[in-house]
């Protein structure tokens, strides 16, 4: 898994590529916590290049979401491939997250 950080219209975009699993999710958590520590108001996660996510990855995002909600921040996802979306649906947590089709939809929401 690789993580890149970008800025789009003043909002922080976390671009993830590869597999999010038990091996890589601690790195993801560490990165999310950096932004949460700064009380970043908007974090948009680009899933376009994510090839896999397991329960540890979903749990990492649930934790991130809870931390952000505590200070009024928003965690958004966009560009989720169908296979990844199915795993979120499988977890029944798909309605917990803000999910958008494109980066534009996310930042304009």
């Amino acid at each position: 898994m690789k993580i890149m950080i970008n800025d789009y219209k003043g909002k922080t975009v976390v671009i993830i590529s590869g597999d999010i699993d038990m091996y890589s999710s601690p790195d993801l958590r560490e990165q999310l916590m950096v932004f949460i520590g700064k009380k970043t108001a908007f974090l948009s996660v680009d899933f376009t290049m994510v090839s896999y996510i397991d329960s540890s990855g979903i749990a990492t995002f649930v934790e991130g979401l809870k931390c952000m909600k505590a200070y009024g921040g928003r965690l958004q996802f966009f560009g989720i491939p169908q296979g990844i979306l199915e795993i979120f649906r499988f977890s029944k947590l798909d309605n917990v997250f803000e999910m958008y089709g494109t980066i534009e939809d996310a930042v304009n929401s």
């Binding site: 597999d19 699993d21 038990m22 091996y23 896999y52 397991d54 329960s55 540890s56 979903i58 749990a59 990492t60 649930v62 934790e63 809870k66 296979g83 199915e86 795993i87 499988f90 977890s91 029944k92 947590l93 917990v96």
Partner: protein, 138 residues
């Protein structure tokens, strides 16, 4: 008729990608539906992750043995470890209305496989049998 395959992986999370690759390839060989392949990859990954996390408590120097078998009517994976024996109370899916990190793995496995059974006769460690009943071209 039955085809079988055994692999042993170290109990390090970096090898979970190997189990996913092998599981997925088996699914492709027997022409499982793409959705089924993704489901069994996820479930076997989660079962191995649970071994690392709970049976081995994060010890990456141990072994996990995966025994795959395919018959005309079932796909079976037996996962063996030599770690801490799972107790019944430890193994349960969680209430999905409770939004919190953790505890999703068993829920995924039980959703994908028809049988989720620990072998009580195993001495040290665990032997988990996962069976999905399905028609398979073999």
């Amino acid at each position: 008729m039955k085809d079988s395959l055994v692999i042993t992986i170290p109990s390090h999370p970096k090898f979970l990608s190997v189990t996913r690759a092998v599981t997925g390839r088996i699914g492709e060989l027997y022409e499982f539906a793409e959705e089924t392949i993704e489901e069994i990859k996820l479930a076997v990954d989660e079962a191995c992750a649970n071994v690392i996390k709970h049976a081995y408590k994060g010890d990456t120097s141990k072994k996990i043995v995966l025994k795959y078998s395919v018959t005309r009517d079932a796909f079976t994976v037996i996962i063996e470890d030599s770690g801490i024996t799972a107790r019944k109370g430890m193994i349960k899916g969680r209430n999905l209305d409770d939004v919190r990190p953790g505890g999703l793995g068993v829920h995924f496995i039980k959703k994908v496989f028809d049988t989720f059974q620990f072998d009580k006769r195993k001495g040290k460690g665990n032997r988990l049998t996962l069976i999905r009943h399905m028609q398979i071209k073999i």
